[in-house]
């Protein structure tokens, strides 16, 4: 079940547009904020709030890279895999991340902390290789920097 807060926020978003459907991506993101991904049950509830069929909403949800219809880890890593990052050493960073986390691209670590996903150009090509962890952007990556960043997410208190 969606919380009252989620419902209220979705309704408020829908009110910004002439047609409630226009708020559907925002609604999916609101639900992901709390649940990280969008389950079938939540999808149906959102669809009902926005006057859409669940099928129509699902076809939109699956169109976008940042809407997850399967469970993801606590932190989603989006590794930029476009041309400028490749030129600047993407493959080394990818190999390091895979080894460090013990997962392939598209997988979640066994402790549920991280999901590693390749991502289309993040638009920071002058400072590649680049990745996002959650909403944070990290650039000019090297192996040490990656380790340092991941450690921060493992032990958020800095401990």
């Amino acid at each position: 079940m969606l919380t009252q807060d989620e419902r209220n926020r979705i309704r408020a978003e829908a009110a910004h547009y002439d047609h409630p459907q226009a708020a559907c991506v925002e609604a999916l993101k609101i639900v992901q904020e709390h649940h990280r991904w969008v389950s079938d049950e939540h999808l149906k509830e959102i669809a009902a709030l926005l006057d859409m069929s669940p099928e129509a909403l699902d076809s939109v949800a699956t169109f976008y890279n940042l809407i997850f219809r399967k469970p993801v880890g606590e932190n989603v890593i989006l590794l930029c895999d476009s041309v400028s990052c490749w030129i600047m050493g993407y493959e080394g960073i990818r190999a390091h991340l895979k080894e460090h986390l013990g997962v392939e691209l598209g997988e979640t670590t066994s402790d549920g902390k991280f999901t590693l996903l390749p991502m289309a150009c993040l638009g920071t090509c002058d400072r590649g290789p680049a990745m996002m962890v959650g909403n944070e952007l990290y650039r000019n990556l090297d192996n040490d920097k990656v380790d340092e960043i991941l450690a921060r997410y493992r032990h958020p208190s800095g401990a």
């Binding site: 459907q21 030129i87 150009c121 090509c125």
Partner: protein
């Protein structure tokens, strides 16, 4: 945070506030001369605004270079139907990183540009469509819009005039194809971001089937300056066919990659060598992609005489696109980089058109085979054949974009393909 690299040959107009966080607030922007263009627009009226923009010769910075004033004049007269202005801030062309900077350093410049454009075309609603990955930029933008409303620069009776213009920030969720103008419109309506068949063109049938104009962030950022100082003033920079200044996003193998605002017509080699410090010591230049991953590759010979304006890059066999200059030195494995670009298009194809849906993964496969040393010379013919079938045959030009690097690389760097095909150097492929 200061802006990383600045060069004395730059003409900093739209980038003048980069690195200056105080310019982000409405007061900071005003103190630096902001919103004077809007005031002037209200004084001279919509038709005169369009005339100034036409006179400036400003061309769309989203890639196609279409004259902005002309585009605006296609909009029907304001009347019963609502008109919309869309600002395309989906920036996802690989190699491009200018719009994010324009938004995060100078959000009010963009709001001002949107307001002037909307006013000129009789639109009472401007949407700024930002890509989902631009988290920080979307927060900066949302805050600036809020401030504009609080201070009477957006919403009802702007600056005490009779003009009402709503400004809404809409954030996407990751899909390159939503940058295509009609894909963006579908996405904005809450549909799959699939491009629409044209005609009808957006000026006739756009968002919610209403007349719509869509412009890139950088295009709209130039508008306040043009309207404040006049179209002729803008023409003091650039060439006759490509007036004004442009942000060049330089990435790859140069010492000082970054955004540089330069007059159009700037020599390519001077950009790479003087402004960006050239390739690393001991390395040599191999290839440049001048306009983002959708345009043909150039070799060193092409670069030498090339000037960076729409007609200059075209004469050198490529396209200026969004001026995303990707520099590759002699370490680069061209076949692999081309495969990477094609693979990107394969992933981002929306799948509506067969040549694009089937062609992009197929080309990726053939390129992988060549990369792995298992290709044949006839694979090159296959690639060229496929490219021809993928060009000019689909709803949008994503398909053409995927073919461009393949065709140009085979033309310019055939030796590299042949070296991989006939043994020699073998590379590991993931």
């Amino acid at each position: 945070m200061a802006y990383p690299y600045v060069h004395e040959r730059e003409v900093r107009m739209i980038s003048r506030n980069f690195g200056d966080p105080a310019a982000r607030t409405l007061d900071g922007y005003r103190e630096r001369g902001g919103y004077r263009g809007l005031e002037r627009a209200f004084e001279i009226g919509p038709a005169a605004v369009i005339d100034e923009v036409k006179a400036s010769g400003l061309r769309g910075r989203g890639g196609a270079g279409f004259p902005t004033g002309l585009k605006w004049s296609f909009m029907p007269k304001a009347g019963v139907k609502p008109h919309y202005l869309l600002c395309n801030a989906d920036e996802s062309e690989p190699g491009t990183f200018k719009d994010r900077e324009l938004i995060r350093w100078d959000p009010h410049q963009l709001i001002e540009g949107c307001l002037i454009a909307a006013y000129a075309m009789g639109s009472r609603h401007a949407y700024i469509y930002l890509r989902g990955e631009f988290f920080e930029a979307s927060q900066v933008m949302a805050r600036a819009v809020e401030e504009a409303y609080e201070r009477g620069f957006a919403g009802r009776r702007i600056l005490g005039s009779e003009n009402d213009i709503e400004v809404t920030v809409h954030v996407g969720a990751g899909a390159y194809i939503c940058g295509e103008e009609t894909g963006l419109m579908n996405s904005l309506e809450g549909r799959r971001g699939e491009p629409r068949v044209k005609p009808p063109f957006p000026a006739a049938v756009g968002v919610y089937s209403m007349p719509t104009t869509i412009n890139n962030v950088e295009t709209l950022a130039a508008v306040p300056h043009i309207v404040e100082h006049g179209g002729e003033w803008y023409r003091q920079w650039g060439t006759d066919k490509s007036p004004g200044t442009k942000l060049f996003c330089v990435s790859g193998h140069v010492e000082k990659p970054g955004n540089y605002e330069l007059p159009l017509g700037f020599p390519m080699m001077e950009l790479i060598e003087d402004v960006c410090g050239g390739v690393a010591e001991g390395r040599s230049l191999k290839s440049v992609i001048p306009g983002g991953s959708s345009v043909p590759l150039m070799d060193v010979e092409d670069c030498r005489e090339c000037t960076l304006c729409y007609e200059g890059v075209e004469a050198a066999g490529s396209m200026l696109g969004c001026a995303s200059v990707i520099v590759m030195d002699d370490r680069t494995n061209i076949v692999r980089e081309v495969r990477r670009m094609v693979q990107f298009y394969a992933h981002e194809s929306c799948g509506q058109c067969t040549p694009c849906r089937e062609g992009t993964p197929w080309m990726t496969q053939v390129l992988r085979r060549i990369e792995a040393g298992r290709g044949t010379e006839s694979d090159l013919d296959t690639l060229l054949d496929m490219s021809a079938q993928m060009t000019g045959t689909t709803i949008c030009v994503l398909s053409d974009s995927a073919a461009a690097p393949v065709v140009s690389s085979i033309e310019k760097f055939r030796d590299e393909y042949l070296a991989l095909i006939h043994g020699g150097e073998r590379v590991e492929v993931a």
